[in-house]
């Protein structure tokens, strides 16, 4: 309990130190407010955006894009990972192409997606999907491949057929790996959405940031980044919650030794 308190204390201290440095850097003229804005201004701007309600619509759009990208990418990744992992030849054939596509910087795809799917949410979802899909795909692929041979042997000795092995062995193993990649996947779904918005759209957090940059409104840019950061932390907390519920069987990675 105490160490938890100490940790929070230090976390807040770091934040305060950063804000003070920023603030007094401006006060003493080291950080020109035109280029760096001021922490207080950013907070006030953000607050006003929430109070006046202009930000909600953009948040909502980004959230929808993130969720869609995450769900579509994950489902695709799980199915493809599962399917390929159990087919030696097919996975060997596809391996180099998957790696090549995954190594591609997704930003270059954004204009093409805008062309294909228009400037609405779907071009952003598509961008997010290309990121999420591969993360989940490789995690699940690996997870299924690395199911312990002893567990497979035990399953066979217990009389399981293929379908039962899938249900009791491969699916849970793959899911646990999928959840290990979940935080990254959610993060990338958001990255896809925001980058997509940034490169061309009429709504969303990325759009807001891009608009502010276009008018040299540094306070607006930082305010947009702050909202994004809060958004990410909230989503991540949600994922942790879901994870705790679904993976009760897993040993808690939290080192109890640290607290003792």
């Amino acid at each position: 309990m105490r160490s938890r308190f100490v940790l929070t204390f230090w976390q807040i201290l770091v934040l305060l130190g950063f804000l003070l440095f920023w603030h007094f850097g401006g006060v003493f003229g080291y950080l020109d407010p035109f280029f760096f804005s001021r922490p207080w201004d950013v907070l006030v701007r953000t607050w006003n955006d929430f109070v006046s309600g202009v930000i909600w619509r953009h948040l909502w759009i980004t959230l929808v894009e993130t969720i869609l990208a995450f769900v579509i990418g994950s489902v695709g990744g799980v199915l493809a990972g599962f399917w390929l992992a159990r087919r030696e030849l097919l996975s060997a054939v596809f391996q180099p192409y998957l790696k090549a596509v995954n190594a591609m910087p997704r930003v270059v795809l954004a204009p093409i997606f805008a062309l294909w799917f228009g400037l609405g949410i779907w071009s952003k979802v598509a961008l997010g999907v290309t990121l999420v899909f591969f993360i989940v795909f490789f995690a699940v692929f690996q997870g299924v491949k690395e199911v312990s041979p002893v567990l497979v042997a035990n399953a066979r000795m217990l009389g399981m057929n293929e379908r039962q092995m899938l249900r009791h062995l491969y699916l849970p193993a793959a899911l646990s790996w999928m959840f290990a990649s979940l935080h990254t996947a959610v993060g990338f779904a958001l990255v896809g959405a925001v980058v997509g918005e940034y490169l061309g759209s009429a709504a969303g957090l990325g759009y807001r940031i891009q608009q502010a940059e276009g008018s040299f409104d540094v306070t607006g840019v930082f305010s947009g980044m702050l909202v994004l950061a809060i958004f990410v932390l909230l989503i991540d907390a949600l994922v942790t919650l879901v994870e705790r519920r679904l993976l009760v069987w897993r040993p808690q990675p939290v080192a109890t030794g640290i607290q003792g």
Binding site: V150, N154, R156, L158, G159, H168, W249, R250
Partner: protein, 273 residues
């Protein structure tokens, strides 16, 4: 219980040899042709130096590995594929980490089509028999090594296999726990006398538990170099029995046979390094 033909042993290996093919293309003849049988209701212990091929032989009887030469007969019938009459307690940890102790035990019944409620009731009674009723809802990572082994035992016995294959089931446990587990095993076994093939590296454990002790030589091309009955009456107390003169006599004889092989197996490892 199905009536096995009177003169056919539960397990019979006829000239079984196993050669592994290694990744670099070379071959490793792990086990030379061996003959071994386990009669119905007989408890056979298999001892031998590490790496001689004990697990390999068990895998063959389980049907997980097919022999390079020779044949496996189960109740007189040639085995192909998985051996459905065998229950296998593996050397390594083999519980499903995402299932509770209870679900792990009932799994073998459920996949066979036993209704869920009945499967769970039977699983619960097996957990009771291995002394883990209070741990039914724990996940494997929340159990101690000995508790996990007992859940594994319940998982295997729950399906009521005619043949029980056990690969160093008490290997990683401390001496006291091993003795207690040995007593538990004998108690469970005496209820319906399954054919047991029990691998151990502990000669004392082998003699204390088994009707017969089979000794394997060091690999490669491991052979069976000794096959000794243990004429100690049952029921046995696996701790007390170690103090009897019969036990000590057998132990001395077997140890002399085994010692040379253990030393040989260490030399083998050094040569390769």
């Amino acid at each position: 219980m199905p009536e096995p033909s009177a003169n056919e042993p539960a397990v019979r290996l006829e000239g079984v040899s196993i050669t592994y093919r290694l990744a670099d293309g070379s071959r490793y003849p792990a086990v030379a042709p061996v003959d071994l049988s386990v009669a119905t209701g007989e408890f056979v212990a298999l001892v031998g130096p590490t790496g001689c091929g004990k697990s390999t032989l068990l895998n063959v009887v389980a049907g997980l590995v097919s022999p390079s030469t020779g044949r496996v007969r189960i109740d007189g019938v040639a085995l192909s594929g998985i051996n459905p009459r065998a229950g296998y307690l593996f050397q390594q940890e083999a519980l499903f980490p995402w299932k509770t102790a209870l679900d792990n035990v009932s799994l073998g019944l459920e996949v066979r089509g036993v209704p869920k409620s009945e499967a769970r009731a039977r699983a619960r009674s097996w957990l009771e028999r291995v002394g883990l009723a209070a741990f039914a809802d724990r996940y494997p990572h929340q159990l101690s090594g000995g508790q996990k082994k007992r859940v594994g035992l319940a998982q295997v016995l729950c399906r009521d296999p005619a043949i029980l294959l056990m690969d160093e089931p008490f290997g990683p446990l401390d001496a006291q726990t091993r003795t207690i587990m040995g007593d538990l095993l004998l108690e469970l076994w005496s209820a319906d006398r399954k054919a047991v093939l029990f691998v151990t590296h502990d000669l004392e454990e082998a003699i204390a538990l088994a009707d017969r002790v089979v000794i394997m030589s060091a690999g490669p091309e491991a052979r069976i170099i000794g096959d000794h009955p243990v004429p100690i009456p049952r029921p046995r107390d696996t701790h007390e029995v170690r103090l009897t003169p019969t036990f000590l006599d057998i132990h001395r004889t077997l140890w002399h046979e085994l010692r040379a092989e253990v030393i040989k197996s260490y030399r083998q490892g050094e040569k390769i390094d």
